[in-house]
Amino acid sequence: MEITGSLATIGYGLAAIGPGIGVGIIFGMGVQAIARQPEARGVLQTQMIFGFAVVEALAILGFVLALIQQ
């Protein structure tokens, strides 16, 4: 069997695993924290989105590398 296509696509899939887990942990923990202390919601939400953006950067670098490898 012969498979054609670009390995870069699989590379992007691998690069998305880590950030996927990370984003899940961030939002899971964030929701837990808000449930325990609803009055801290504003600060927690900002921190959650900030952490999400930082983790997501890894997936985005993978995406860009997958595209320029074509």
């Binding site: 600060v43 989105i49 985005i60």
Partner: protein, 292 residues
């Protein structure tokens, strides 16, 4: 394999000659939309090296600029103490950015940067939303051109470095970003280069790429759904009425997927504009705060 090559060679000519749909008899396959979507032919090419001339992006960018300027003009031209409907919308937006972003990241001092942040949010959202407004031939998010997020990110980069140097001096600014508090002295040999790389080199890079890559991927996804729905719609196929009915069913599924992802895309566009402004605000806040 050889046979497949013949089919795909025949397919290119067939696709250009007539409408290419599923269940056809001339061996025509699906051609997914590629990244050429984001490199439109220029309307006017001045032949200056390194420039693209006047392309679709230029026209859509002008439209987005008019939309964001028009939004502020029509909502705030008769500002009153008791706000009208449009004015209260604008006020809600400003208050949202103030309470959710600038106050949380910079404290009261952040109110100085509030006009910039609100302007940037509305402008980026207007540029993103151009990917969903169905103007024939001009439906393209402007932020899928890497140049636009890059310029915005560079502007923020200069701004937070300038603000940090003005407040803390060059030494204080560098110390705040190169020497994290609570790290033992010998470890600094390792930590300082990493901090320098992540704060001064990778930071503006990911700041621009985040907005670009998410909009790029989202627009490509919508294009694939639209093209697939069009490809699969073939009720008058030569292979019989039953397959024609199946093709309409497939096409309906693609349409549902397209609509669902359009709504999802709208959400992503707002989130990306929010994240871009939040990150700008966090960077400026960290620079102004200095070492601790």
């Amino acid at each position: 394999m050889n046979q497949q090559n013949d089919v795909s060679a025949g397919l290119h000519s067939a696709a250009s000659e007539e409408g290419c749909h599923i269940f056809n008899t001339h061996g025509c396959g699906f051609q997914p939309p590629g990244t050429s979507l984001f490199f439109p032919e220029p309307y006017l090419d001045f032949g200056i090296p390194g420039t693209a001339g006047i392309t679709k992006y230029f026209v859509v960018l002008t439209l987005a600029l008019l939309i964001s300027a028009g939004f502020w003009y029509f909502t705030t031209r008769n500002a009153k103490v008791v706000p009208s409907r449009g004015q209260s919308l604008a006020e809600m937006l400003v208050e949202f950015i103030r309470n959710q972003i600038t106050r949380n990241t910079m404290g009261k001092e952040g109110d100085k940067y509030l006009p910039l942040m609100v302007t940037m949010f509305v402008f980026i959202f207007a540029m993103n939303i151009m990917g969903l407004i169905p103007i024939p031939g001009l439906q393209l998010p402007v932020t899928t051109s890497l140049a636009i997020p890059t310029m915005l990110a560079l502007f923020v980069y200069v701004l937070w470095n300038g603000a940090g140097i003005r407040r803390n001096g060059v030494g204080g600014h560098l110390k705040a970003h190169l020497v994290p508090g609570g790290v033992p002295k010998p470890l600094l040999i390792l930590v300082t280069p990493i901090e320098a790389l992540s704060n001064f080199l990778i930071r503006p890079f990911t700041h621009a790429l985040r907005l670009f890559a998410v909009m790029f991927a989202g627009h490509l996804l919508l294009a694939v759904f639209a093209a697939a729905g069009f490809y699969m719609f073939n009720p008058l196929t030569e292979m019989g009425a039953a397959l024609g009915a199946v093709s309409v069913g497939y096409s309906a599924l693609a349409l549902i997927g397209f609509l669902v992802f359009t709504v999802f895309e709208l959400f992503i566009m707002a989130v990306q504009a929010y994240v871009f402004v939040l990150l700008s605000s966090v960077y400026i806040g960290q620079a102004v705060e200095g070492a601790h």
